[in-house]
């Protein structure tokens, strides 16, 4: 049996979300991110929520799996530019299988 490796986008496509289109639950302080050398958010996120666009850190918060790794990584290995709050009630990832 050959095990097929799904791309990240394909894996995220299996998930069900209720996206809060008015508010992002992730806030980014660009001035802090500009000073950040390590930028751990770009590598630690299992959903690759954080990407750079024209030198700025951008959060694709609609893909967030709500694990909280970015907050820990940013506070301890970064400059504290990320503020992660739980999404408003009813919004965010809806895990159907645990």
């Amino acid at each position: 049996m050959k095990i097929q490796v799904l791309s990240l986008d394909a894996r995220l496509g299996l998930d069900k979300y209720e996206i809060d289109e008015k508010n992002s639950h992730i806030l980014i302080d660009q001035s802090r991110c500009q000073q950040c050398l390590l930028q751990p958010c770009l590598t630690v996120c299992p959903a690759a929520v954080y990407v750079t666009v024209d030198g700025d850190i951008v959060a694709r918060y609609e893909n967030c799996l709500e694990c909280g790794t970015c907050q820990v990584a940013c506070d301890t290995g970064g400059e504290g530019g990320i503020t992660w709050n739980p999404p408003q009630g009813g919004f965010g990832i809806l895990f159907r299988y645990g």
Binding site: P46, F95, Y97
Partner: protein, 160 residues
């Protein structure tokens, strides 16, 4: 895969632990395939903490000597092997084989269900006692000899 939740767990076990150190580096936690699954509990965090603490001790000792060579970092493995979690990994080394035994997850649960079904349901067919029901349901699935070997394996893994 039915849902991605970034909760994947790698295979682990004392027989899968690689070399934990080398020239200028140490490996700890999941990166070193450290995971203890003894069927009852699934432990990764305490193993990771213990290995990281051992690694830190080794690195501090290496820094004191100003030498980060593999020889110097070898104490990491010694430190880690003295931890309780490593001793647990050795204690449960035969338990891991149970997780690889597919019959425990695919054949026996159904077998128990079918035997119970045969015994507890009233049908318009001649009934069977437990042994006959068991043998009939075992057909093509597992032999008595294989089942006895599996019972011994479970005993080795979980009892003593």
């Amino acid at each position: 895969m039915v849902e991605y939740s970034a909760q994947a767990i790698h295979r682990g076990g004392v027989h899968l632990i690689p070399k934990l150190y080398g020239h200028g580096y140490v490996v700890a936690g999941s990166a070193a395939r450290l995971l203890l699954n003894n069927v009852m509990t699934l432990r990764g965090m305490d193993v990771a903490v213990a290995s990281a603490a051992s690694a830190a001790q080794a690195v501090l000792a290496a820094r004191e000597a100003g030498d980060y060579s593999a020889d110097k970092l070898a104490v990491y493995e010694q430190f880690f092997k003295q931890t309780d979690v490593y001793k647990d990994m050795v204690t449960f080394k035969e338990t891991y084989a149970l997780l690889e035994n597919k019959r425990l997850f695919h054949v026996y649960p159904d077998l128990v269900g079918h035997v119970m079904g045969d015994m507890f349901s009233v049908k318009a067919r001649p009934g069977k006692k437990a042994y006959r029901a068991l043998r009939d349901n075992m057909q093509d699935e597992v032999t008595m000899w294989q089942m006895m070997k599996d019972v011994i394996q479970i005993g080795r893994g979980l009892v003593r």
